[in-house]
Structures are given as C-alpha cells and as structure tokens.
Symmetry: C3
C-alpha cells in the first residue's frame, strides 16, 4: 500500500476523521497483526479493549466508539477495511502475467477472447470458449467443449471436464475439479456396472469454489451452483444437485446426489446431506450436522441426525447430564422399592385390622 | 444420440413396444430433465405420478406399469436406460485425442504400449509401463516404476507415485493421488521421526476412484483395493489397508491404516473407520458413522460410535425424546417425594395405633 | 536392500545378535508381509504369537523377548526397523532426477539455489526463492514471491500461492495447496462481497503435509504451522490459524479460521474445530470429534460436541443403554401409579376411621 496521510484516506473513504490527520498510513492489518504504520479496525465496539496491545497508527471505528488514537469513523468498519485490503493484495497482473504462455496448449478449434491470460501448461481443449478478461493459472485444464465466461479466475491445477459451463466472474481456487463423473452404478452379474454420467455442471455468475472442491456432473441434465454462491475448500457436490443463489458452504461439507438446496442457505463445515433432500431458502445448518430429511425454509438445524436447533441444543444439554439421569433413575428405583416394601409391610397389619 | 424411431430402439434393446413406434427419439434424460425429443425411464413404478410434468416423447417402464405415452417395456428399466446413456457421452477419442502429445515427457526407459493416449504435459517416469488402450489425460504423473494395465482411464492431474500397480480397466478421476506416504512417525528426542513408507498401492482390475481420492502406500508390503471396488470423491485410504472386491464407498469417507475390509462392503459418505479394524463381507455402514470396533459379516451399522443399525435407530429415537425423559424423571422424583411424605405422615399415627 | 549377513546388520545397528549370524537378509517387512529373506520386528512383546505364521528369516526384538529364530535385540525395535526401511525406499535421485528439467518454467527473477531438482512442468514464478537441495516434482507451481527453504521435498502437483514461506526440510505430498484465499465475505446489497485475503502461510522447519491438504492464507498477517508438525491427507486449515510445534493431525480433519492450537497437540481423523477456539498444549482430540469450545492444556477430549474424554465415554455408555432407561422410567411410572393408588385406597379407610 502506498503511504497515505490519514486525512487523505478519510476523504477517499468518505469517513469522519478523528484526531491527527497527518499520521501516515502504509499498511492495513487485523487487530492482532497491525504494526506501527498500519491502520486496523474494530469489527465490534466490544473489541475496543483489545486495542491496548495493538501498535496500529490509526483505527477504523463505527459510530459511538471512542479510541485512544487517530481514527476514521464510518458506518461499517469491516466493509471499509476490506476495501483497503484490496490495495494490499498481489496485483492480478503479477499472479497471472498477461498473454498466452508459450507452453500453454490451446486447441485450434478453441475460442479464446482477447486479453485472456493463460499460464504455463494450461490446456484448452477442442471446442472450448474462454471469455474476455479471464485468467487461467498454471496447468489449468479445460477438457473439451467447456465454456468459461468473462473475468473469471481459475487458479493453478483447476480441472474442468467436458461441456461444463462457467458464468462471469467465477473464481476457482487451486485443484478444484468440475464435472467428474457422478457416483452411480447398477449391480450386474459380474460386478458393478457404471451408469454413464452424461450431464454437465453449470456455475452461475460470481460463484467461488475453494481449493480441492469437487462438483460432479449430472447423470443427465445439469448440476447447478446458483449465482453468487460460495463454497469453501474440499466441499463435495454430488451429481444432479441444484444449489440456489448466494449460499455459503464451509469446508469439507458434502451434498449427496440430487439434493435441491434453496437460496441463501448457509452450512457450517463437515456437514453431510443425504441424497435427494430439499433444503429450503435461508436454512442454516450447523457444522458437522448430518441431514437425513428435508429442511424447511428459514429453519436452523443442527446435530447428527440433524434437528431443529433449539431441540438439538436441549438434547445436547440433556445428553451431557445423562450419567446423572441414569443415577437418578437408579435412586428412584431403590426408593420406590423401599417405599413399596414399607407400604406393604405397613399395610399388612392394616389389612389384617380391616 | 442419432435420431432413431422408437420401434427400432425396441428391437435394438429387445424391449416390448407399447404405443406409437414411429415416434423419433433423439436423446435420453432423467424424469426431471427430459424434453420433447427424449426418452426417459421409470426406475420404480411408484414414480409414474411424476411422469405428468415430464415432456418426454417416450418412457422405458418395467412389467405391469401403464403410462400415458409410447413406451418400451423391459425387465430392468434403469439398466436399459443406462445402456442408452453411453451413446450420449462425449466420445473417448474427443476426451483423449489419440497418440502421445508432443509436450508429454516419457522417459526412454518407460514401456508404453501401442495405441496409448498421453495428453499434454503427461509425465511417464523411469521404468514405468502403460498397457494397451490406456488413456492418460493432461498432466497425469506416473512417478517411476509404475505399472498401468490395459484400457485404463486416468483423468487430468492424477498422480501415481513410484512402484504402484494398476490392473486393467481402472478409472481414476481428476486429481486422485495414489501411493503418497502413509502417516507414520515415532517420537524422537528432537521431534517426530518419519517412518519410511516403502510399500506400494495395488488397484485390482475395474477399480474406480473419484476425484481427489487418496490411497496411501503401505509401510511395507501393499495397500490393496480389490477388484471392481468403487470409491467416490475425496475418499481417504490409509497405509496397509486391504479393501475387498466389489465394494462401494461414498464421498469423504476415511479408512484408517491397516484396516481389513471385506468383499461387497458399502459405506455411506463421511464415514470414519479407526485403524486396524476388520469389517466383514457385505457389511453396510451408514453415512457419517464412526467405526471403533470390528463389524461382522453382513452387519448393518450406523452412528457415532457406530452400532448395529436397529440398536442405533432405537437410541436415536430415545435421544430425540431425552428432554421429555428428563422431565418425567423429575416428575417421578416429586411424586415419589410426595408419596413418601404422605406415607410417612400416614404411617405415623398407624404406628401409634398399633 | 543389498543382501547382508545378520551379524553385520547387528554390528551396524549396535544390536545384540541372537542365534545364527550367517543368515542373509535381503529385505525388511512388517509381520504380515515378511517373506523368507526378510527381517521383521516385534513392536510389542505381545505380538510374539503372530510370529508363528511369519516366514521372516530374522526378527528385531526388544529386551526380554525370546523368539524361535535368529534375532537382533535392541531397546526400541520399531525405531531400529524404521532405520532399516530407509534403505528400501526408492532413492530420492530416482524420484527427483537432478537438475532443472527443460520443460520447467523458471522466471528469470527467481533465485534457485544450486543442486535443486525441478521436475517436468514445474513453474517457479516471479521473485521466488528455492533453497539448496530442495526437490520439486512434476508440475509443482510456486506462484510468485514464494520462499522455499533448503532440503524441502514438494511432490507432484503441489501449489504454493504468492508470498508464502516454507522453512527447511518441509515435505509436501502431492496436490497440497498452500495459500489459497481464506473463506471470508461480507453481505452486500447485491450479494456476498469478498474480503480480500492478503496475508500469507508460513510453514516452519520440518513440517510435513499430506496429499490434498490445504492451508489457507491469512486475511492479514500469517497462518502458521509450527516446527515439526505433521498433517495427514486432506486436512483443512482455515485462515489466520496458528498451529504449534510437533503436532499430529490425522486425515480429513478441519481447523476453522483464527484458531490457536498449542504445541504437541494430536487430533484423530475427521475432527472439526470451530473458528476462534484455543486448544492447549499437548491436548488430545479423539477422531471425528466436533470442538465448539476451548480445550485446556493436556486435556483429552472426544465426541460431538466434544467434552472431556472420561465424561464422553460415560455418556456414550449411558447412551447405548438409553432404550433400557426409557423402559425403566416407564416401569417406574407404572409402579408409582400403582403404589399411589394402593396408598390412596389404603389410606381412605384410615381417613374414614380417623
């Protein structure tokens, strides 16, 4: 980040300047990493106490927060800070040197737009199309008849199998695999017979997939990830799955074949979803949950097997006291036995006396 | 798929023609994707209701199913449909153009059979052998002394480390890794000391491994995946494991080191198996289970920790009612207390009267 | 392994020779794989019974173990055996032929030390530095400004993104991904807005990462794996995480963003750790656990949600008897009801009589 006076930064970010505007800022970093030349931010007012140990020269704060050093006051500190971070990233031109590297292998039938960056060893197979401004890192493989939209970023070692289609501004992190065969077999007389997987994968605009994430092609038709949806690393999406728009799926989660996931769904990490389930819009699924039945719109679920989050928490609490419950029941049995004996002993004479 | 009259398709598939044989079929697709020129199928008679919204020109049905449009009646609709799908797949010659790509790096000591397809950037190391008809996609790496049988398909970015051996007709999806070191260390005076992993991996004939799946080499001897066994994406197989024949293992499952898994075993997704366990022939393991002890032949198990499926379901049911159980016990305690007080109160006068 | 007389092996390994020293040893293998020319070992005295079915010519044993064939007696049989295994591994020079392969793409600005091995298709980007004696397998990609220390081994298809730094003697198994973007977004008016991830990954000396393992770069600052720590295959480490020294993390485990893990921590496979947690030094986490709160130094935890291992085991035991507990409570309810009725019946006449 080029050094800049805090007052100039205030102007640029449309922020209220608090304190000394002559302070020079040369970097931006989170609370735990910020050094003397950095600007940092307070995501929540409650973090103000952590500022004491931080050497940052200035801090971005929200309304009604007072701090002990020069500051920029804005509505949404994290968002403004994120905008600053963009200046600190390695420029795309350095990550993806412009042009087509001489070791890239581009089939003559492929249609590669002007201004595309193809790194060393990139393979663009027969009938592929790559849109303007897209960047493909080293050894990315587009098998054949693949369509990549405009301004996409495919990092090193991404593989896109035949006929799959990517929208615009799609980001695929290293070693993503799109369009591998779905997992389908029929039992046959000499073993399992493979069901050909002839469908494709469609990633809509602004989809981002993490490193090593796999999205399988459909048996027929399409596996679809909806616009703006983000998948973390090593997420598995089975064949025929439809995921809606603007969803967030954390690392190592797996969605089995033919599931239909709504818009705005969020799943924690290591979630597993049984095949053919429907998960409603804006549903929230806690980390490591195992879904075995449909989830309605807006529901929050959790657990293995997953259930409504409130129920799940009550069960977890009850479970944590299960050994005590066992003891209580044992005590009850004994007390009852004693009482029964006592009552019987006590009642015998009465019976006799009646 | 080249357009064909339904009556001709009936002859080719040895199916009973029902209704208009002149209908022209130009594609095949599942119930949810089939359009006007397609033929679809009913996997189960119960799906007949879903046919209403489907525009398919014709449908493949089983015995005793009546439908509202031209149909082919066969014993096993899904199997016949799967046979049709093969016609719709991208031809292997397009996925793997014949011959050795000029950018492939083949060591002079390697023995590559005639008719093998090696894609761009393929590396075939010292002492490797590749059997007739095998196809290696872009950037596949055979490290050294690797044996690949006949008619294998290795998709882009597969890595096979030194000395590992593949049978015939093995299919490896993109980014599979065979023969990485097993995870073994001994505590030493200055940290963990690596136990050299000098064994290999053997994949028998007709094994298929999903994208990103890893099978580790043995410490000594062999890690083996038996004939016809299929592993889905991102499955982890530890060192020294033996997996039997014709098994099916869903995505993200992990088998720890030295396990012995029988023939015909099926595991759902995200299962974890502790090291050194034995899982018997035809055992079935539910998704997301955690196995911590041996599983006998033919058993169905489920849960974390896994137990016999019937028991596991009873426990899951009981668990879902655990908060009520806690309340019942509390009620019992109160009732018992009241009763005890009453009995004691009641008995005192009696005692006095006796 | 070159054939060697057992007596010479005894001298070389500083072991006590037992029995015939003229026996010729030409290989080393575990108990289950050892053949007639091999030497094997007994990790524990209790395994002596398994030696009966083993054809090994000789065996390495610990103190106080007597066996039926020539043997070497040492303090720590597994460690001595491991030293022998190193002789059986494929030589590094065969795995990584010396020099820079003509198809490697090394940016002129990169600083590659003498004696480095760069395999076919390796990409060393702008501003990278690779230390003496390091070996990079086929298609390894160092994006730009990456630092690799001395004597590192990066197997085929490893990707290291910009600016990440590796210490000395680091081992990365195939398809590892270092420095992919952390998973961070802010909700915006038209969808999720990406928070730029501008930090890096640091792997300290002697770190080893399994095949397909991913370590994400920090948002700002560093994601760190401490000296000597070993991660198995397909482990996910989120942004900003700090893992201490000499830890062991089994396959498919996931550590969410901003966690701080101490020294000497061990985690089983498929563990999930919630973001921002602290796990203390020498903590042990059982396989498949889900951590949702901090773990103190030296604690052993287990379960989903994880708790102290003793508690967890008690709960697992209680859970396995839950259906019986339900029945007991039902029986108690009935008994109590009967008793209550009896008492009431019994007390009525008394009431009348009072």
């Amino acid at each position: 980040m080029d050094p800049v006076r805090l007052s100039d930064l205030a102007t640029r970010l449309a922020a209220e300047l608090i304190g000394d505007g002559e302070v020079v800022i040369s970097g931006a970093a989170g609370l735990e990493h910020a050094g003397p030349g950095d600007i940092t931010f307070l995501a929540r007012p409650s973090l103000v106490g952590k500022l004491g140990q931080c050497e940052a020269a200035a801090v971005i704060v929200g309304p009604d927060v007072d701090v002990d050093r020069p500051a920029l006051r804005v509505q949404d500190p994290y968002r403004v800070f994120a905008r600053l971070l963009a200046d600190l990233a390695t420029p795309l031109e350095r990550l993806f040197p412009p042009g087509i590297h001489p070791t890239a292998v581009v089939d003559p039938s492929a249609d590669v737009a002007d201004g595309v960056s193809l790194g060393p060893g990139v393979v663009v197979g027969q009938g592929c199309r790559v849109g303007a401004g897209s960047r493909l890192g080293p050894h990315v493989v587009l098998e054949c008849d693949v369509t990549v939209g405009a301004d996409c970023i495919l990092f090193a070692h991404v593989v896109v199998r035949d006929r799959c289609r990517l929208g615009d501004r799609v980001i695929l992190h290293p070693a993503c695999v799109l369009g591998a065969d779905g997992f389908g077999y029929l039992p046959g007389p000499t073993g399992l017979e493979k069901i050909p997987q002839v469908g494709i994968v469609i990633l809509e605009d602004d989809v981002e997939l993490g490193a090593g994430t796999c999205v399988d092609r459909a048996t027929t038709g399409t596996t679809v990830i909806g616009q703006g949806t983000k998948l973390d690393n090593m997420v598995q999406v089975g064949h025929n799955v439809k995921i809606g728009r603007h969803g967030v799926f954390s690392a190592q989660t797996g969605i089995s074949g033919s599931c239909v996931i709504g818009d705005g769904v969020s799943m924690g990490g290591q979630v597993g979803v049984k095949d053919h389930l429907k998960v409603g819009d804006k549903a929230q699924v806690g980390a490591k949950s195992g879904l075995h039945k449909d989830v309605p719109d807006g529901a929050a679920v959790f657990g293995y097997p997953a259930m409504e989050a409130g129920d799940a928490m009550r069960i977890v609490t009850a479970m944590s006291r299960l050994p005590q419950l066992v003891r209580k029941v044992r005590d009850l049995e004994r007390s009852l036995e004693r009482l029964t004996s006592a009552t019987e002993d006590g009642s015998k004479p009465e019976e006799g006396s009646s």
